[in-house]
């Protein structure tokens, strides 16, 4: 599978070092993240390749929020990095048994498996958090009792779309009206 690499400044490069000019042509390529990539690099990528912003209804609002945020030091003290993960989950109950595959974005500590839900953390505290591509979690029969972990690859499309979807859940107000 061909690879595309996201740089800290939001640029996309092919594995032989050539800069990508048309992001659509590499949407199906396996993504690798260069060192020092943060969530801000994701938004820089959207700025460089505006065509990508047409893939999700959340982008106009997210980009508006992004433009109003400080240019540095947007960090969240309770986690060390943000991890983009794929989960395969077998669910036996309630309802009919089913298998679900989904992507998620969560906060992680340097050590330990605890995953932190980011939906209550404002975007302004996440932008400069290091970002990595996590392993695939295979949950057997729900309730996260038995979980296997595997190495996997993510395509550029999964990354662009999955992060946008996840950030679409962030709506915690900064302050109460009253």
């Amino acid at each position: 599978m061909e690879q595309v690499i996201l740089d800290e400044d939001g640029g996309l490069n092919s594995s032989d070092g050539r800069a990508v000019t048309d992001a659509l042509t590499v949407l199906g390529h396996a993504l690798a993240l260069a060192e020092a990539v943060t969530l801000r690099s994701y938004f820089r990528m959207l700025h460089r390749y505006p065509l990508l912003t047409r893939t999700s209804p959340f982008f106009p609002d997210l980009l508006d929020q992004y433009k109003k945020l400080p240019a540095a030091d947007c960090r969240y003290a309770d986690c060390d990095r943000i991890s983009f993960c794929k989960t395969i989950e077998m669910i036996g109950f309630p309802g009919e048994p089913k298998l679900e595959i989904y992507l998620s974005l969560s906060g992680c500590k340097a050590e330990g498996e605890d995953r932190l839900d980011l939906k209550l953390v404002p975007l302004g505290r996440l932008l400069d958090m290091p970002l990595d591509l996590g392993q695939l979690r295979h949950v057997i029969f729900g309730d996260n009792i038995d979980t296997f972990v595997f190495d996997t690859v993510y395509t550029l499309f999964e990354f662009v779309d999955g992060v946008a979807w996840q950030l679409g859940f962030q709506s915690a107000p900064e302050a109460c009206h009253i």
Partner: protein, 310 residues
């Protein structure tokens, strides 16, 4: 006002956010709060065995077991019960949605309060699965009273709410939603924000719409709001009207954030005229999971126009 509130709970941490709002409302409205938990589905008929609704495990049921569950509920909500003045704790066996609806009907509850899921869910998963819990969907579909769904900590002050957003698409169910929101706003002297999003995504995905066409549709929507809803407003002027274009659930969430809404009121899947056939609309589902404030879904007119404005 609200005399009887039914808080349908799984008695587990997934309902903690809803619990806080339910107890707050009990004190605010001086109402009776019924904490109602359906602990399991009988394996068959009047079987003494039940399938636990959360774990799927089989348990033997008798009066002692039910009493034990009620005791456990008291422990779970011990902190909140300390300040509560008028509550009842009940645990029953049955299909959750049916029992909750039965309870709401027999008690003539003014409002059902619940969380959005039975299990702790990863929100990323919601794209691939039924987006809100099936119990919540069925209750919302069948309930004659408004159903308030709380899916995350209520960071705004619903107890002292000052901004109510009502999303409308001019259907019969939306009339009920508006009616309930209007009476409520009038009662608590909150500002009512009447909102409609012109859905420019459903005609043809990715199609570009001309500015003139969008402007025309926005104007038409404003006229409809005037005819459908504002014609029913009497002696009340603390309201605003907004019509935006875009993807409806994205726009209503943006608008709610902009006006710092304390409550969003919407109708269920509103293109269905017959409430018997209405499942929770996808717009409501998306709003429920993403909204920072509680979301009330109103399906029928029964309680909508009943609230005493005094």
């Amino acid at each position: 006002m609200f005399k009887k509130l039914l808080f349908a709970t799984t008695a587990s941490p997934v309902c903690d956010n809803a619990a806080k709002v339910a107890f707050d409302l009990e004190l605010k409205w001086d109402a009776e709060l019924i904490l109602f938990h359906v602990l399991g589905v009988p394996t068959r008929g009047y079987s003494p065995f039940i399938t636990d609704v959360r774990t799927g495990e089989t348990e033997q049921i008798d009066n002692d077991y039910v009493d034990w569950v009620r005791e456990e509920m008291k422990h779970t909500y011990a902190d909140l019960l300390k300040d509560s003045e008028n509550n009842r704790i009940e645990a029953v066996v049955g299909a959750p949605h049916r029992e909750i609806l039965r309870k709401a009907r027999t008690e003539n509850a003014d409002m059902i309060i619940m969380g959005s899921h039975t299990r702790e869910e990863d929100v990323g998963a919601s794209r691939y699965r039924q987006i809100v819990g099936s119990t919540m969907q069925k209750v919302a579909k069948g309930a004659r009273c408004p159903v308030v769904v709380i899916s995350r900590p209520c960071t705004t002050c619903w107890k002292l709410f000052s901004n109510i957003v009502v999303g409308t698409d001019f259907s019969k169910a939306a009339d009920s939603a508006f009616g309930w929101a209007y009476r409520l706003a009038k009662n608590v002297d909150a500002r009512l924000h009447l909102f409609h999003a012109v859905d420019i995504t459903k005609d043809a995905i990715g199609a570009d719409h001309g500015q003139v066409e969008i402007e025309t549709r926005l104007e038409e929507a404003r006229d409809k709001i005037e005819n459908h809803h504002l014609s029913k407003v009497t002696d009340y002027d603390n309201y605003t009207v907004e019509v935006w274009e875009g993807t409806p659930y994205v726009e209503i969430l943006k608008f709610a954030r902009e006006v710092q809404a304390d409550l969003i009121v919407m109708a269920h899947h509103t293109r269905e005229i017959d409430p018997e056939k209405a499942l929770l609309g996808s717009t409501v589902e998306q709003v429920v999971l993403r909204s920072a404030c509680p979301v009330a879904s109103v399906n029928r007119p029964d309680k909508a126009w009943e609230i005493d404005p005094d």
